[in-house]
């Protein structure tokens, strides 16, 4: 579904992504692991179009999207849940969710879809009229996911969903990700610093180090790999 070839991304004179090739097939959960500064967030931002690449290509369902503006990429079906949740702080929970439907013309379905989201996240229903800036970290993350679901995307890009979230809530979110994939057939690219979690959730994994892919393979294999265990899983 998503095919990246030799992608290079610069910030001014710094090359942050130095020739990455990877792919995400339909129905997969693929994870991208790496330390801070490795370029994971930059990669996702480049895929969703808010950062431009300097060379290489990104194809989504056969369409080249690396030169496309972000709003068209959203139309094609990529839903990016950014690092740090990034909910609209002054808008209510409901308004945030409605923003997910911004691109779509049919608002008749809106009530049904909102109900569906509230089914998935009952806590959000309780806070439906609350300003999103006052929610807890975990609730904001759920809101961000719900908002992305409203986009009805074909691929979800999750950027560090576990960052700054309490462990109990992380489990909930992990469940949600699994559910999206298994029940709704969603394709997911998950970027995570928490390698343990990521490898458990995903089918395949890539390891990103200073802008390059240094290792890739089925998640189970990588989880059992010595080097990965030492560096990313904290084993001794």
């Amino acid at each position: 579904m998503l095919n990246i070839q030799d992608l290079c991304v610069n910030y001014e004179k710094n090359q942050v992504i130095k020739g990455i090739s990877m792919e995400v097939k339909e129905g997969e959960i693929v994870t991208l692991i790496g330390a801070n500064g490795a370029g994971k967030t930059t990669l996702l931002r480049t895929i969703s179009g808010i950062k431009s690449s300097s060379s290489g290509s990104i194809e989504f369902m056969g369409n080249p999207i690396h030169k496309m503006p972000s709003h068209k990429i959203v139309d094609l079906g990529i839903g990016h849940i950014p690092e740090g949740r990034r909910v609209f702080p002054e808008m209510t929970v409901k308004e945030n969710l409605e923003m997910g439907a911004y691109r779509r013309k049919d608002s008749k379905e809106m009530k049904k879809e909102l109900d569906h989201i509230f089914e998935l996240f009952p806590r959000l229903k309780e806070r439906i009229s609350q300003r999103a800036g006052t929610l807890s970290g975990g609730e904001q993350q759920m809101l961000a996911i719900g908002r992305a679901i409203m986009l009805r995307p074909k691929v979800y890009l999750f950027d560090e969903p576990s960052l700054g979230i309490a462990p109990l809530v992380i489990a909930e979110i992990a469940q949600m990700i699994k559910r999206l994939n298994e029940e709704e057939g969603a394709t997911i690219l998950l970027v995570e610093q928490n390698a343990n979690l990521a490898l458990k959730l995903s089918h395949r994994a890539y390891i990103l180090e200073t802008g390059k892919i240094s290792l890739e393979g089925p998640s189970e294999e990588l989880a059992n790999d010595d080097r990965v265990q030492k560096i990313y899983l904290g084993y001794e």
Binding site: K13, N14, K18, A35, G37, E209, T210, G211, K212, S214
Partner: protein, 338 residues
Amino acid sequence: MTKNLNAKKLSLIALCAIILLVIPILLGDYHVHVINQIGIFIILVTSLNLILGYTGQLSFAHIGLFAIGAYTSSILMMTYNVPFLLSLLLSMVASAFFGLLVGLIALRFTTHFFAIVTLAFGEIIRLIIYNMPDLTGGPNGIYNIPFPPNVFGLDFSQRSHFYYIILIGAVATVLFVKYMIGTRTGKAMIAVRENETFAQFIGINTWKVKMISFTLSAALAGFAGSIYAHYNSYISPYSFTMMESVTLLLMVIIGGVGTIFGPILGAAFLITLPELLRDVNEWRLVIFGALLVLTIMFMPKGLLGLFKSIQEKVKSSKKPVSNIDSGLGEEERKSVGS
């Protein structure tokens, strides 16, 4: 090898010096007048370049400090019979003093706010000058400002003779700034311009550096003002408006910020241009405005920057800088090379 270069440099400087000394003899009165104006503005633009080009703070107050220099010097000489050199000195002190005051308030802020506070002060100065006719002549200005007294047989009521005062002033100013930039404080100024947060991080007292830069540049602006007043013999608040402030700014930018020759180029360019385009003088400001926009959009480093970037492109292209890290890919990194 170095000996040859030094000899080359010296002979070039000597040649320039000779040309500069001989100009008023070679050229007619009109041309000398144009060059004189350029010279005065070289001093003023260099002063603005010190705070803007080297320290990175956009100040609109300098036209006001220029005015303070002009008015102080004129009033001292005319009303209080203070001799020329002392007036000159005192007007520099006055400008520096007001520069200090403005700096104290304005330097609490950065970029936009700093700019508008300095703009406010520039305007306040002009409005005060305008509204105090007893002291400053108000909107009518001051007439018959005396020329500096004759010295060494030079009669400074003649433009070709006054030229030498301006020459000495401009050379002194440029050399002073060049020297200043080489000192520790000067380098600190550049650090502040490049990245103030980082400069603080490495222990530079950025506020102090900015204050010094601002006050010194104010003094230089006052110096330019004094010379301006005694050369033109007439000043009024209309010479110190926001429009002039913007023209001044343009001179700094077009020439190339943060360079020694930038102000010289900028002043020369923006003063000769209207002279050359005499007929289209009414379009002067239209052209200036368009120039400013186009310069920022396409040549943000000014004329000098343009030359430099052409130079750089002709040389080999540089590789992008990559991050350093350790991890799994260490073997890979080694094999790829640096």
